[in-house]
């Protein structure tokens, strides 16, 4: 693989799956306001929490990875929504003020 390919989430996902790992693909499907990554951006996650790619500027990846581990186990896809960061503990958000919707599915 070339350097560009090792950083390509969809090629990484295929390699991981072919190596027998559990894999989930997260995709930004909608954005509102100033979202850091456009619709179509991918983050891929394996069963151990290893990941490649991004769906934001690092703001919500942690939460997406946690949900992805669930999706890898259950096989049921999830639609996640993240908005402006608020003060409430246990919630993550986008400090840029945008809003994004992320679809997480298992690679089967």
């Amino acid at each position: 693989m070339t350097l560009g390919e090792t950083m390509d989430p969809l090629l990484t996902a295929q390699n991981w799956k072919q190596a027998g790992r559990g894999v989930a693909i997260a995709t930004v499907v909608e954005t509102w306001g100033s979202a850091p990554r456009p619709a179509g951006s991918h983050l891929v996650i394996d069963g151990d929490g290893n990941f490649e790619g991004s769906v934001s500027g690092g703001c919500v990846e942690g939460a997406v990875i946690t949900e992805a581990l669930d999706v890898i186990t259950s096989g049921a896809p999830k639609m996640l929504e993240f908005g402006v960061a608020d003060e409430t503990a246990w919630r993550v958000g986008l400090s840029c003020g945008g809003k994004i919707r992320v679809y997480v599915e298992r690679l089967g």
Binding site: G4, D8, L10, P38, A39, P77, R106
Partner: protein, 231 residues
């Protein structure tokens, strides 16, 4: 998504074919549509739209949301000249995700040792382009300083509508080049498209800095182009 579906998408992407992934959130298996496949109905129209715009979109089909993710081939850079600048370019371009091919007939320059892991063709551009013509997704950077090598591919790049055409050399060198390209039949409008001196004006001095400035200019040309007129 099934592994087979992803493998089919990745195969198309490696072959530089544009592809759209159609996801219905109902849990049905996503569909991969490759450019050139037959399209029909309102979904077909929406797919044709994202192929043109290059931007992913959620659309409504029969009252249900459908996500269309579009994968266009990455830009390909063809550098004319296996010189110090292209040695640096060969290291930066893969990080940005752009394919790179280097052409230089001078075998003293075009050596495996200087360009390990890069697609390097030690041949005249006249011969190489017969089998591998430029397309609209190609950026051409001519950096040999030698009209015998640079002029022909520059002229071909303008004819092919490459999204970026850059040429190394001072304003004086470029003025002479303009005259030669006119003699080769290129119009003033075509010649105006050449980026010369090459690279964004960041005060680049070293070969690596010139490579960075050139790559930045290529990214700018690609991201700001009008896809509808390109395709």
């Amino acid at each position: 998504m099934l592994l087979d579906t992803l493998a089919r998408l990745n195969e198309a992407r490696r072959a530089r074919q544009a592809a759209v992934v159609v996801t219905r959130f109902s849990g049905d298996e996503p569909e991969v549509v490759i450019e050139g496949d037959e399209l029909s109905g309102s979904l077909g129209e929406e797919i044709a739209k994202v192929f043109r715009s290059g931007k992913a979109a959620t659309v409504e089909i029969d009252g249900a949301p459908v996500f269309l993710n579009v994968h266009l081939p990455p830009p390909r850079i063809v550098a004319i000249g296996a010189v110090h600048i292209t040695q640096a370019l060969a290291r930066i371009a893969p990080v940005i995700g752009y394919d790179l091919t280097i052409i230089d007939p001078r075998t003293a320059f075009a050596t495996e040792e200087r360009f390990e892991g890069v697609e390097l063709i030690a041949d005249w551009p006249e011969d190489v382009l017969k089998d591998r013509p430029f397309d609209a997704y190609t950026a051409v950077a001519a950096v040999t300083h030698d009209p015998k090598i640079d002029d022909f591919p520059l002229s071909e790049a303008l004819k092919a509508g490459c999204f970026y055409v850059g040429a190394l050399g001072s304003r004086k060198t470029h003025a002479k080049r303009v005259e030669r390209l006119k003699e080769m039949g290129r119009t003033d409008d075509e010649i105006c498209r050449i980026a010369a001196p090459i690279g964004l004006d960041i005060g680049a001095a070293s070969p690596a800095e010139i490579a960075l400035a050139t790559l930045a200019e290529i990214v700018q040309a690609f991201r700001r182009r009008d896809l509808v007129t390109l395709r």
